[in-house]
């Protein structure tokens, strides 16, 4: 399989995640869609690493995984804190910072 198939698939997955962020309301599902977008970026990194025959892109992908894990941990902590304060788990209702 040529590399461009992987790149097109990565673009498709990234767009899917972006659409999910636009249409979903629950912060939990929005975090899942962020995962989709980060994984699409990972796929592109690994595909380009294979394209140039160099493993450094895979190290980038591993670091992206670490950052994604940190983002998930902090995001889920925020969701649990929102739930404990009995605020609605809906990004359209949480608009206090909007001014």
């Amino acid at each position: 399989m040529s590399i461009e198939w992987y790149i097109v698939l990565s673009a498709l997955l990234f767009s899917t995640g972006a659409v999910g962020i636009l249409i979903r309301r629950s912060p939990l599902v929005i975090l899942l869609c962020l995962e989709l977008m980060l994984n699409a970026g990972n796929l592109a990194l690994v595909a380009f690493s294979r394209m140039v025959g160099n493993e450094e892109g895979q190290v980038f992908a591993v670091i992206v995984m670490v950052v994604a894990a940190c983002e998930v941990v902090v995001g889920l902590g925020l969701i649990v804190a929102i739930f404990r304060r009995r605020l609605p788990l809906n990004v359209d209702d949480l608009r206090e910072l909007r001014g």
Partner: protein, 202 residues
């Protein structure tokens, strides 16, 4: 054979992604994301990156998804309201997504990367195995590696601070009455903050 594996994994990854954004119940969304992650690990194996595939399965599908399942079980999957702040958001968003996909594809495929149409150069047998990645991480990328470990520690501490059950949140009266007591009783009542005893609740 490689085409069959690629298209099978691609359909799995894309189906999982669509399932994440289309399923109403967040628990099913998490399960769809697990399908997506396993298909992506197969794609990583096709790209001869064994370590990234293994890390994907162990870290994502193993650890992060378990965290998600726990939080979904704790919060509960409430149905989303049909109210839209922007009229026609449900129809505009896929249009924007298609535009984004076309733009990304055109930007990459029309670039002057001549190797895009090839399968990449022939690589030696140990390409992308844990030994190669570990050597790179501990020699060339030592500083990002240590920085990521610090980031993980900070995220763990931040999550504990965020999700910590503050006593004034749920039992303000009990917290106020506990302050006038002796220090020993104060420390025991702080320990019971995890599971409040009937004595501490008014």
């Amino acid at each position: 054979m490689e085409e069959v594996l690629f298209f099978g994994s691609a359909i799995g990854a894309l189906g999982g992604a669509v399932g994440v954004i289309a399923l109403r119940n967040p628990f099913y969304s998490v399960l769809a994301l697990i399908v997506h992650l396993f298909s992506l690990a197969a794609l990583f194996l096709l790209l001869t990156s064994a370590f990234v595939a293994a890390a994907q399965v162990v870290v994502y599908a193993g650890a992060v998804m378990v965290l998600y399942v726990f939080v979904v079980a704790y919060v509960g999957g409430g149905g989303e309201s049909a109210w839209e702040p922007i009229p026609g958001q449900r129809f505009l968003a896929p249009l924007l997504g298609i535009a984004l996909f076309v733009e990304l594809s055109v930007a990459v495929l029309s670039s002057s990367l001549l190797a895009l149409g090839t399968e990449g150069p022939d690589v030696k047998p140990g390409f992308g195995d844990p030994a190669a990645i570990g050597t790179l991480m501990l020699e060339k990328f030592l500083l990002p590696f240590e920085a990521s470990s610090l980031l993980l520690l900070l995220a763990a501490v931040g999550a504990i601070v965020l999700a910590h059950r503050r006593r004034e949140d749920n039992a303000p009266d009990a917290a106020r009455s506990g302050e006038g007591d002796t220090p020993s009783k104060h420390s025991t009542s702080r320990l019971e903050g995890v599971s409040p005893s009937p004595r501490a609740t008014p």
